[in-house]
Symmetry: D4
Subunit: 252 residues, 8 copies
C-alpha cells in the first residue's frame, strides 16, 4: 500500500464506495503486521512503500541466488512491485521458480515485476550516456525509472568528443523534467548538459575506461567538480540510485 492507494481507499470510504468496516479491516491488517519481516539473514522492510513511495529494492550484489529468491518471494507475495538490481542470470533462474511472472532485463542486469498502481511522475526522465560501454548502467537507470512510474527517453553515445551528436538533440534535452547523465572516462558530459538546460541533472560516473580512470574515479571526480550548476552525483555505476533520485524529483 502506498500513500496513493491509502488516499484512494479513504476517498472511496468518503464517497460511500467502500464501507468503513471494510476499510478499517484492511488498515488493521496493515498495522498489525510488523513493519519488517525477519528471514534471519534479512529483514524485509514491508512498510517502506508506505513510508517512501516504493517497496524495498533488492541489491543483488553479494547475495546468493537462494537469498535473492527468498526475499523476492516475500515481496511478490505481498502484492508489492519487485525490483532486483545487479542480478546475474542465475539469480533470475532462482527467482523465476518462486515468482514465475518476474521479468529479466539482461542489458540492465535487473529483475522486475510490476504489481499494483504506481503513481505517475509529472514529466519525462531523460537518460543520456556518453558511450556504448556505459549502456548497462544507463539501462539500469531506465528500468528503474520506468518501474517507479516514470516516462523515460534515451539518448545514447553522445560523448563530448563529438559535440554535434549532443547539440542535435537539444529539443529532447529541453523537453525533459529531470536528466540522468551516465559517463565514464573523463566524465565531462554532465557539465556540458547542465550548461544547456534548466532542470536538475543527476550524474552517474561509470567504471568504463582503463589506466588512470581507476575504475570510475576519474569520472566521479570530474562530476563532483563540475563547474556547471544543477549537478549532483551518485556512486560509480549506480544507475539505480540515479533513477530513484530522479523519480522522487519527478513525483514532487
Amino acid at each position: 500500500m502506498t500513500e496513493l492507494t491509502l488516499r484512494q481507499l479513504l476517498d472511496r470510504v468518503g464517497s460511500g464506495e467502500v464501507a468503513p468496516a471494510e476499510a478499517s479491516a484492511r488498515l488493521l491488517d496493515l498495522l498489525r503486521a510488523a513493519p519488517f519481516e525477519d528471514l534471519g539473514f534479512a529483514r524485509v522492510d514491508t512498510h517502506r512503500e508506505l513510508r517512501q513511495g516504493f517497496p524495498e529494492v533488492v541489491l543483488g550484489l553479494g547475495k546468493t541466488p537462494v537469498q535473492i529468491a527468498a526475499i523476492a518471494a516475500r515481496i511478490a507475495q505481498r502484492g508489492q512491485t519487485l525490483l532486483v538490481t545487479r542480478a546475474q542470470p542465475e539469480a533470475y533462474e532462482a527467482v523465476r521458480v518462486a515468482v514465475p511472472a518476474a521479468n529479466y532485463h539482461a542489458d540492465a542486469r535487473a529483475i522486475t515485476l510490476a504489481q499494483g498502481d504506481m503513481p505517475k511522475g509529472s514529466g519525462t526522465i531523460l537518460v543520456a550516456c556518453a558511450g556504448t560501454s556505459d549502456l548497462a548502467v544507463a539501462e539500469e537507470a531506465v528500468v528503474t525509472a520506468e518501474i517507479m512510474g516514470n516516462t523515460v527517453d534515451r539518448i545514447y553515445d553522445v560523448g563530448v568528443a563529438g559535440l554535434h551528436r549532443l547539440l542535435s538533440e537539444q529539443a529532447r534535452l529541453q523537453a525533459a523534467r529531470v536528466i540522468i547523465v551516465v559517463a565514464g572516462m573523463e566524465g565531462a558530459l554532465p557539465s556540458v548538459v547542465a550548461g544547456l538546460v534548466q532542470v536538475p541533472v543527476i550524474a552517474v560516473p561509470t567504471s568504463v575506461g582503463y589506466g588512470a580512470s581507476f575504475g570510475g574515479v576519474a569520472a566521479l571526480l570530474g562530476m563532483l567538480n563540475s563547474c556547471a550548476n544543477g549537478v549532483a552525483v551518485v556512486n560509480i555505476d549506480n544507475g539505480f540510485g540515479a533513477a530513484a533520485m530522479a523519480s522522487l524529483i519527478n513525483h514532487l
Copy 2:
C-alpha cells in the same frame, strides 16, 4: 531577464498593456547584446539568467578582490542579482566600492545583492547539518537558496550520535520539499534522513574532521555509498552547489 519576466512581457503584449513595438525594442536590445562580456581575464555570461534561470554566480576562490569587484560591477550594472561565494572580507571591501548596496554574510562567506523579481520555489528547502563546525557550509547553502527565491528552514547540530535530536524534528523534515544535509566526519546523516522522508536529499560532505577524515573524503565516500534511496551528492564544502540543485528542483 529570466524566462519568467520574458513570459510576463509577452503576456502584457497579449493583454494590450505593452505595445508590440515597445516589447520588440526591448527584445532586440537583448538579442543585440553579446551573450557574454569579455573582460580579458573573464567572460561574464550575460545570458545565463535567460538560459538557466539565475545569473552567473561568481566563485570567489582563486580570484583577486579586484577581479571579483570588476565582475560584480558588470553583473550589478545589468540589474541582475549578484552572488559571490567563498568571498573573503577583503573581496567584500572591493565589491562595496563598486556596488555599495551589496551585502556580506560573514558566516556564509558570501556577497549578495538581490535585484529584479526572482520566481518563487513551490515549497521549503530544509538545510540540516550534523555539527556546529559544519555551519559555514550550511549557511552558504541557506544564503544561496534564499537569493534564488526559496523559503528555507534550518535544523543544525543533529548528528547521528544523538539520534533523538533529529527524531524530535520529524515534523519539519516531513514538511520540506527538498532537503540539504551537510555533514563532515563519517557523513552518515544523509542516509538516516533519507530513510525518514520521501523527498530528494542533497548531501554535502564537509572538510570538518581530522586524521582519517582526509579533508572531507570520509564524509564524501560515506554519502556516495549511502544505502538509502533518494540521495545525491555534491563536492566537499559545496553548499552553493547543493542549494543551486535544490532550487532547480524546488522550481520545477
Copy 3:
C-alpha cells in the same frame, strides 16, 4: 594449558586432590617443551594459550591446504582448541584427514575444534550487521566469539536506511556487554548503535559495496571518523579480530 587450568591444578594440589609430584611432573613437561614448534615453514606458538588465554589461531589466507593441515594437526594433538579462519572447503578437506573431529562453518569460512575447558565470558557479545551481504564477516565473528567461550546474540540486516528495524531491538542492544557492528557501504551503523548504548562497540567495515566503496575503504573511514564515543575499529572484513577483542573485554 590456560591460566584457568593452571590455577585449577594448583587449587587441587592445595586441596590434596592432586599429589605435588604429579603436578610437578606435568608442569615440568610444559616448561621443557619449547615455547614454539618449528615446522620449517611455520613456528607454532605452543605457549600462546598460557600467555594470552587462547591458542594460536590459523589465518587460512595465503597458506596451502597442506600447510594448514599440518599446523592444525600440531595444535589438535596438543589438546588445544583449533580455529582456522578464511578456510576454503579444500583446506577443510585436508584438515579433516588429520583432525577428523574438526567442524566446518561454511558461512563463516572457518574450521573449529573445541578442546578442553575455555573460561566463560561474563556477558553477552551481540553481533549486529547492516545487510545480508555482510553475513560472512558477521558469522566469522560469531564462530570466533563462541569458541572463545562467549555467549553470542545476533541482529542482522538493520542498516541505517530503515532505522525502525534497529530501534525495535533496543532491549537486545541494552542487554549486551560488548557489541560488534559489521557494516559495508557507508559504514554508519556503528555510530548509530554507539549513540544508543553504554558499552564498547567494535566496528568491522566490510568490503561489501561497489564503486566508491573501494573494497571497504568508505566504511572503514566512516567508522574511524565516528562522531560517537566508544567505537574502535578493526581491519576490513576482520570478523575474527573483532571477536577476539570483544572476547578479551568480555573476559575481564
Copy 4:
C-alpha cells in the same frame, strides 16, 4: 545525573533516607527538561550523561572560542563535568570568563572541570607511547581517562627500535586492565604490546612523522593490519576517543 547517581537516589529512597516525594520531584525536573538544549548553532545533548555515562564532550576543532565558551557554560551550569578537547589557548581564555574554575592542560590541549561523582573504573588504564613527539596525543588520552574516573599509568618513549625500553616495563604492562598505545611513524608498537599481554589494546595512530607517513596513514594502516589479537584502532591523533573506549571497558 548518571546511572550511578540515579541508583544511589533510589537506594536512598529504599532505605528511607530520601522521601519519595523529594525523589519524585527531582526526577520530574529531569524528565521535564528537553533532552537537548538548542543554542541555534549547537544542540547540547543534556541527557547524554544519563544515556551514556558521561556528559557531552566538546570537540574544540572547527568551533570559535565564543561558540566553545557558550557550550561550556551550559554544561557547567547544569553541574555536569566539562571536557573540551583540541582547545587552543584562546578558547580557554574565552571559557575561563564563563567558567572560572575550568582548568587548562596545555600538553593535552584540553579544558576540564570535574563536577559531581564519577563512578570509578575497576582497574588501571595504561597509556604507552612510542616517542616524545606522540606526547600531545598521549596526554589527551590521559586527561580524558582521568576525568572519566579512571586510574591512569604512563609509559612514554618505548618505540620498537629499542625493545629493551619496553621489555623492562613488563610488570606495569601486566598490571593494566586496558592499554592505550599511541604511536606514529610505522605504528608497530601496538602489535608488540598486544603480543605481551592478555588485555584489550586500543591503538592510536599519530600524525607524527614525515614523507611516506602521510600524516599518520602509515601508522593507521600498520595498526589495522596488526598480526596480534586484541587490538582495535581509533582515528589518527584521537587520544580522546581511545580513552573514552578504554573507560567504557574499564567501567564494565
Copy 5:
C-alpha cells in the same frame, strides 16, 4: 649558439662573409668550454641551447633568491636567453642586481631576458583557459611560448558550463597550429576543444578548485582519460612544460 646560428655561421663561411679562421676560432671556443659550468650547488648546462634549441630554464621553486640570481647571471653573461619560472618577487629583486635588463611578469611569476636570435615557429600557439583562476598558469605558458619564438593568441574563461563562449571563437581555434588548454576543476575543456580541431592539444590541469579537486588531481585524471584524440597532458600547473612542448611542435 643554437643550431640556427651555427648554420648561419657556416653559411657565411661558405659565402665568404666570414673567414674560415675566424669561424674556426669561435667554434673552438665553444668546444673547449665544458658542456656545463659547476657552481657547486648547480651545474648550468651551457650546451643545452645547441642540443635542444633553448638554453637551460631555471625552475625557481625550491631555490633561494641567491641561488637563482647566481644561475641567472651565468646564463645572461653567456648571451643566452633567460627564463626563470615560479619566481617570487624576492627572486626577481635578487636577479635584477646581477641582470639589470631582466623583466618580471607578475601574473606569470616569471623572469625573462631575451638575447640573441630565436628561430620563429611556423604558426600560432593558442592558449585557452577555462576560468579566471587559471590565469597564472595560462600566463606562464604565454610568456614561455613567446620567449621561445612563437606567436601566441589567448582565449580565456571559456569553460564548458557555457559552451557558447567557446563556440563563438571557432575561427581562432581553427587558426592555431598547436593549442594549449588550461583548466582546473573537472578539466573537461581539452576534450571539447580537441573534438573541434585537427591540431595537437596540450592539456594543462590546474590546482584550481577545492574539495574533491584534490589540488588538480580531478582535472589531471579527466584530461588523461579524454575520449578525444590528439590530447596529451603535462603536470598540474605546468604552464611552462606545455609551452615548451608546443614550441617544439611549432618549430618542426
Copy 6:
C-alpha cells in the same frame, strides 16, 4: 572524405578533370547524410574524417563482439579506414564475418582495414619501449601510426638500467620527427630520451610491473614529473592515443 580528398576533388574541378555537376552531386550526398548514424547503442560519427582527418576509431574495451562488428561494418561500408583497438580474438571473429578484408594484429590487439588515400606524414615516428613486457602497448602505437599514414621506426627494450643500449641508437633517435616512448615500472625512459633529442616526446606509461607500480601509476607519475622539456603524457597503456597525437604532429 578527408580534407585532402576534398581538396583533390576541387582541384580536379578547377582543372576540368571533373565536371562541376558531378562534384556537386558528390558533395550534396555528403551534406545530406546526417553527421552521425544512430545504431541505438552507438552513434557512428560519419563526418569525423572530414572534421579531424581520420574516421572514428572503435575502442573495443567494454563492447560486445556483436556491437563491435556492427559499428565496424558501418565504417567499412562507407569506404572509410577501420581501426578497432583493444580487440579480443572473438571480436575479430565477429568483425571478419561482416568485413572479410579486415586484418588482426595479435600483438597489438587491433583490427584494421585501410581504405582510401591517407595523407602521408612528413617524417618518421619512432616508437621506443623500455622492456619486452611493454610490447603490446608499443605495437598498438605502431599499428595506429601506420594506418594513419606515418612511417614508423621501432627501438625496443632500451630501459635506463642499461643506458648503452639506448645510447647506441642515437642516429635513429635524431632521425625521428616525433618519438613515442613506452615504459612501465619507474617510467624514466622518456626523460632520458627527451634530454637527447630536439623533437616532441609522447610518453606512454604502461601497467607493466608489480607491487608499488600500482598498475602503471608509478610510471605515469614519473612521466608527468619529468625534468626534461618536450614531454607530454597520455593515459596508462594508451598506445593508440600516443600514436594519434604523434600522427597529428607529423601531419602538421
Copy 7:
C-alpha cells in the same frame, strides 16, 4: 666473463700460464661482440656480468613462455649463469626444451642454471620472514642470493606478535652480515630486527594480508617509516631485488 675471471686471465698471463696472444684473442672476441644482442622483442645485455658482476636476470612477469625461453637460451649459450624470476611452470616447460639443465624452484617461482665461477660473498645473508604466507617471496630471495654466490640462512615465521620466537634466534641474527626481512600485514618486523643488530637490513614488504593491507601498501609504508636505523626498502614482493642488493653488499 666477470671482473674476477678477467683478473684471473691477466694473472695467468703475468705468470706465463697463458700466452699473451691467446689472452689477446679472447679479449678481442669479447670486445668485438656487441654489448647486447637484439632479438627484436628484447635486447639481451651481454656485458652486464662484466659491468655489474652478474649476468642480466630475466623478469618472467609479462613475458610469454616463448619469449622467456628465447632469452634464456641466449644467456645459457654464452656460458652465463641463468636466473628467471616470477616464472610460471609453463615458462619452465618452455625453457627446459632449450636449456635442459635448468632447474625449477617451485616455492620461489624461479628458474636457475649456475654456470662458471661466481665470486663468493664474505659473510652470511640471513633471510627472515614474519609468516608462512611470506614464504614465496622469502624463497625468491634465498634462491637469488645463493646463485649470486652467497651463503644463506633462513628464519621463518617470527612475526612481532610472538616476539619470543625471534628473540630465541639472537645468535643467528648476530652472525649475519646482511639481513633480509620479509613481512606483510603491518610490516613491523624489520624495525624490531634492526633494533637488535648492527648490520644492514633490507626490508621486503609483501602483498600478504587483506582489507587495509592494500596489497602490501601497509607493510611498505610501515617499513619506509621505520624508526630504526639501518633499514632500506625494496618494492612489494621483490625478494629478488632484496637479494641482489644484499649480495652486492656481501661482495664488497
Copy 8:
C-alpha cells in the same frame, strides 16, 4: 663506549698497558648504569652506541627546543657523539646553552658534536643529487655520514635530463664504495646510476616538485620500481636514514 673502544680497552689489558682492576672498574660502571635514562618525556637509549655502533640520534621534528636541548645535554654529558636532525635554528639556540661546543649545519638543518673515536669506514660514500632543490636532503646525508666516520664525496645537480653531466663523473662513481642518490620529481637518477656501477645504491626520494609529484610520492614510487639491480629506498627526504644505512655498509 663502542665495540671498538671496548676492544681497545681489552687489548690494552692484554698488553699490560691497563691494569685488570682498572678495566674492571670501568666496565662495572657501564654495566651498573641503566641501559636508558628516563626523562619522563623521553627515554635516552644510553647503550645504543655499544649495541649499534652509534649513539641515539635525535629527530628534531615534533619536539620542542627545550626537549631537544635536554636530550642533547644528556648525550653530550656522557661523552657520546651528538647528532640532531631536522633542527630549526631555535633548537640550536637552546642546545647551545647546554652544549656550547655543538655545531649547526644550516643547509643540512643538523646539530652535531663529535666526541670520542669513531671507527673509520673502509671506503668513500658518494652523495649525488639530481637538482639544486635537493640540496638540504643531500647535505643531511653528508653531515650524517661524516659524523659516523665516513669519507664523503659530493656530485650535485646531475639529473637525467642532461645525462652528460653525470656521465662526465664516471671516475668518481666508480671510486665509491656506497652511493646515496637523492632526487625529487620523477626520481629516475638512482636507476641510471645503479646501471653504471657495481656497488649498493641507497635511493632517497625528495619532496621537491609540485602538482603530481605529491610531495615526493612520484619519486618514491619511481625508485621502488627501479628496473636496475642494487637499489634500496628510504623514506621521502630521509637523508639521515640513507647515510646511516650507507655507513653500516661502509663499516662492514
